[in-house]
Structures are given as C-alpha cells and as structure tokens.
Amino acid sequence: MNHKIAFLSFCTLALCTACGNDSDPRSSDETALLSAPGPVPESWYRLPEDGPARNPGSLDTLGRSFEQILDSQAEALNALPPSPAPFLEAGGKHPPDWVPWRLALFSADLGITSNGLLGPLVFDGGRAVQAVWERKDTVPSAEKAEPIGFRAGKGKSDLMISQPLSKEQLARRLEPSIRAALATKKIRNESLFRKNVLSSAEKFNNMAWQLSTMKKTGMRFEPSGFRLEFVFGAEGEVSPGIAVGGEVSLRFDWARRESSGSVPPPSPGAALDPAAQKLAAFARGVAPDIDAAIAGDPFLKYGFKFDGVRIALGAIGEFEFGIAKASTQVIGSIEFSRSDAGGAPLSAAPATEPGEDVLLIDTSPAPEHLRYAGRTGALVAGSGNSGTVVYKLKHEKIQRGLKKALSMGSFFASHATAPRKGRWWLSELSAEYSLSLTGEAGLATLGGLAEIELTFAHLEGK
C-alpha cells in the first residue's frame, strides 16, 4: 500500500473568471454571516479584470475552519463498519485487479461564496448514480498497465486510448458510441457522421501520438493526458468544441502508459499532421512554465506530492491551441505530470529560452475585461467576426499565475497535514484556477461559487 499522499492541483487555467452571478451575493442568510469565521482573501478568487480585491481575509481562522471540516468528514467515514468481507459476487470470471465490492473513495466539495465564506458545498436537487463498466476481454494487455500521472478527467469517454490505434481498431472502439449517437435521432446523415467521427478519431490519434513522443525530451513535466471534444451537427458535420444543444458530442481521451521502446506512428503521415504539430508546440511551450513554477516543491513538507496540472484548452482556426478563458469555452484539456513519478524533491528548474507567447482565448469576452485589457495594455492579438478575443501571455506571466495557484494550494495542504486516526485519509485536494490577462490566478468561480474538491481514500482498500 502506497501511503504517500498525492496533492493534485489541476489548474484548469481560465475556468470562468467572471461568470455572471445570478444572485444577490448578500442574501438575507448571508448578511448575518458577514462576521463569520474564515473569510478567504478576496484576491484568491477575484481577478484584476473583475475589479480590485479589498477583503484581505483571515488566514488563521480560515485554516481552523478548514481543519474542522476535514476532521468532521474523516471522523464520519471512520465511524463506518469495516468492509464486509462476506459480500462476494457470485460466479463468472474476474479480471486480475478484482476485489470484493467496498466503499473505496469519498468525495466532497467545498465552496467559496462571493463574500469569501468557505464551507461544505450543498446543492438543491437530486443526483444520479454513476457507474463505470469495463470490457472484460478486449482491452489490449499493454493498456492494463497503470496510467502515468494523475487520473484522467472525469466524465464518460467515448474513446480512451493509450497508444496509437489502427483505423480498424478505432472504428471498432467507436462503434458503441456511434450507435448510441444515432439512436438519439439527432443525426440525419449517418454516412457523413460515421466518416467524420472516424476522421476526427484519426486526428486525435495523431495528436496523442505526438504527445507520447515527448516522453524522452528531458522535461520534468510531460504530457500525461489529453482530452478533446468533437461536436457533430445534424448533417454529420464536425467541429471541436462544446455542444450548445441539438448536436451530438463525442469525447476522446488519451492517457500515457509506460511502454517499452518508442511508439510507432499510427500512419505514415502522422508526423506531418498540422493539428498534432500545433498541439505538441503548445505542450512544449507550457511544460517549462510548470517546471519553473513548482521549483522548490512546497508541498513535500506537508506530506503531499504535487502530481500535475491540467490546463483547459481552447482553439481558434484549425486547431490553434491556447488556454481557454472560461469554462463554457473549453474544448478539451491537457495534463502534465512529473516525468520522474514524483520521486526526489524538485530543485530549481533549468533555465530555458522562453518560447512564443501563449494564447489566452476568450470566445465571449466581457466588456469590462476588454476595457481592462485596453487600460492595462494587455495585448489583444486578434478579434474575429465571431467576437473571439485572443490575448497573448508571456511565459513569465503564466509562471506567476501558476505560482500563485500553488501558494493557495499549499495553504490548504498545510492545514490538511494534521494526523487523523483511522482508515480514511485525505488523498487528494484539487481546485480549479482562473488565469487573468495579467497573469494573476484565482480560484475559478462558476455562478459566483468557487469550488475545492476533497477526496478521501480507504487505506485498506487495496
């Protein structure tokens, strides 16, 4: 059993900095709580373009409040009865990693209100049960190895690959999702739909292969996961992006696995695929920024391991990748994990030549953000008819934003280290951050609420 606790900070850089708050932030319930303990510093969730941050918060009381929440959650889980060994599935063949059913993980969200109150997040309405099924016998043996880095993004994937597949393999893997999509009756032109699904998968295959070739380039952070969404219209036409209703959306995922030797290209022309080359260039540009930001490994002293960063992707034109500014504009994500599997503490990053500026893509810019960009001289690189605005960020700004995100993460990590007796331990702490035009970072908010996710794992579960 690996007792090392992983700190997972996926920086979905640019998830919604200024989504409209549809409520009065000072509702009657909250007005009575203005003096409540532990306000989060406003600068942690408010970006410069959204207005000046005034409330400095109170880190002492915030830390105590956070610890009380963790204690309550761990104690509640530890009070559960031990795993019921007699519960065994009857009959059938089981894969090697099969164990009797047990409660393995517990996940809870914390929310931060517009006034900086941190607490367990509640919601109104029910929530469905989600289930993950796995094919028993068709997964190639090479894919049964442990994935590298942290887990892939959440949600159902229509295609999960870890090594380049042939056209026939792709078609076979995609067939269940294609049939499910056709069953929705949203697609009128089945043949074009099938053709475009397959060509999109081949393009994704090429991109994934390009990322897999970056394994041995000497970078301390390397791509470990990649997700892209494709949207298909009624006539089967395809575009990368987010379905806004009426269309069919398919999600493709790649996760790096350890493999021996170099991975051959999926097709002779894969190395020349422009989209794959652009993605690789983006990854090569951002990886050193992560390396520079994490130097010094601030989490080790708290018993956490920094696992990696997930960056939200946007795109303009034909797969010109950049960081998406808001959650509604995310077409996918790319994850970076430590190439050394988190062994030794990270020292200072080796100096690298700064690459080209990184694009920050905003497909629906708020007027106040544009005004702020104008006042501060943030370079607007392009503005098309669609209203899309592209800011160019210098690498030092990306690094500054990452450092600030990591310092916020280290605050929570520092208060999660208190020993808690029992079989349940906080195994992951993750948060999403927005990236400002200025390079500042803040906890991402959606509808006024920022969220932090806590995951407890059962130590005896394995």
Binding site: P84, L105, I112, L121, V122, D124, Q130
Partner: protein, 114 residues
C-alpha cells in the same frame, strides 16, 4: 478599566472558540447564494448518518450483482446524495438541499471517480 479589559478578553476568547467549532454550509438555493453556520458536531452527525445509510444499503445490492456473460463488468459506482438535510440537523432551508458528496464503491484495486 482593568475590568473592561478582562471582559473584552473573555468575549474574544469565547468568540474565537465558537469560530473554531463552526463553519458555514454554502451553496445555492432557488438561484440565490446561501450560507448557514453549522457546528462541527452537527455536521459530523449529518455525514455519519448519510454515509451509514448509503454504505449499508448499497453494498449488498452491488455484491448481489451477478457476473454476466455479456463481456462487460461493473467496476465503479458513484452514489451522490440527494435527500433533505433533515438528518440530525433539521431543515436548513425550506427547500430540499443536500451535501454535495459522493461515495464511490468499487470492485477494482484502482478505483476512479466517475
């Protein structure tokens, strides 16, 4: 003057103690951002009841699931909580709200959050 100082000290001490034992539940209800203070014990009682109920009702159901010959195997199941916050606390607001927590049951050595 000394008495005022002592009273102030007691006041701030009590206030600090209370702060350390309470925290807000936050969320949205009918489109409005909300926050309501709860004590640590009350929150523990709520989670304890919820986790016990989910644990005791879900595991036998999953364990009785027969391995089929279909070629597919159920590996991870996440159960979200969606009933009223009336366990141990009484209604927090007039509407039905629930802690946003998920319990992941797995028969795999590498469980994932669905």
């Amino acid at each position: 003057m000394k008495r005022i100082g002592t009273l102030a000290l007691i006041y701030f001490s009590l206030n600090a103690t209370a702060s350390a034992e309470t925290f807000p539940l936050v969320g949205k209800s009918t489109g409005q951002e909300r926050a309501r203070m709860v004590g640590k014990d009350a929150y523990f009682n709520l989670l304890h009841s919820l986790s016990g109920t989910v644990h005791d009702s879900t595991l036998p159901t999953l364990a009785s699931q027969q391995a089929t010959a279909s070629g597919w195997l159920l590996r991870d199941v996440a159960v979200g909580i969606g009933f009223a916050l009336e366990v141990g606390l009484g209604p927090i607001w007039s509407t039905t709200i629930a802690p946003r927590v998920r319990f992941v049951f797995s028969n795999s050595t590498s469980p994932t959050l669905p």
